[in-house]
Symmetry: C2
Subunit: 150 residues, 2 copies
């Protein structure tokens, strides 16, 4: 595995994280466990709502994007965690069968002021659906080790 | 079910959302599917890391808190979705067996300027562990219908 270290991360890099087509069973199973609001789990309630059918939990959509981010970036990087996100936006409802096309952009890199073995990469993850609608964005920070930090 | 409508939501209300003790199997199963970074799924890698053992994915911790928020507030409210979060902070690592104690505070309510059937409730969800350490916060907005909407 060729590791990506803090020195390798450049402001402005946009990574294609691939895509994922949302299976209805998985989408609803997530909501039944973690977000059982009627619009996420109840066909009749969702039909009667403005959405017309069941929509994904925003947490499910984010989790699916996270998997792609790990597969294509964080899992290849010397990442040791995240203090959090500056924003997480749910912009368009996600339905079963939608294809999410996901990318990540490095917004800003900054060496740690107190620890010389690491730096911070502020980055944005964005998902679009098959119609080109922006579905989700989040902007967060990851802590990435330098190459010779053991 | 006694519904909570926009008119019923008051700035400053703090709701106790209960607690949840994190099962190791569920915590790791979530990460294997959605966030398979070594510190979340690989015992040996986690032992060699600063964390000492496997820690929860921040998305798992958020999802567990969301379930409590739905059970104790959103599932009882005429909530029709959320445009997103202003911040999501992971403040303390979560380990298997930790007990998360969760609360929600209504920060600000605001009627919609364009739709007279709804309003916005900006609110913060906070989780603490069994030692009193703040583990997670997020601040977001939910759209809540008024009592006589439609």
């Amino acid at each position: 595995m060729s590791y990506i270290y803090f020195e390798d991360i450049e402001d402005g890099t946009v990574r294609d994280l691939g895509s994922y087509t949302v299976p209805k069973d998985e989408m609803i199973a997530f909501s039944e466990r973690y977000d059982p609001q009627p619009i996420h789990v109840d066909e009749a309630a969702a039909e009667a709502s403005v959405f017309g059918e069941i929509i994904a939990s925003g947490w499910y959509t984010a989790s699916v994007c996270m998997r792609l981010l790990v597969d294509e970036f964080l899992g290849k990087a010397a990442s040791i965690g995240s203090p959090g996100l500056d924003e997480l936006s749910w912009l368009t409802p996600v339905y079963a069968g939608d294809t999410l096309i996901v990318e990540n952009e490095i917004l800003e890199t900054r060496p740690s002021g107190s620890r010389d073995d690491r730096g911070y990469a502020r980055n944005q993850t964005r998902a679009y659906n098959q119609d080109g609608d922006e579905v989700l964005t989040w902007t967060g920070t990851n802590i990435i080790l330098r190459r010779n930090a053991d």
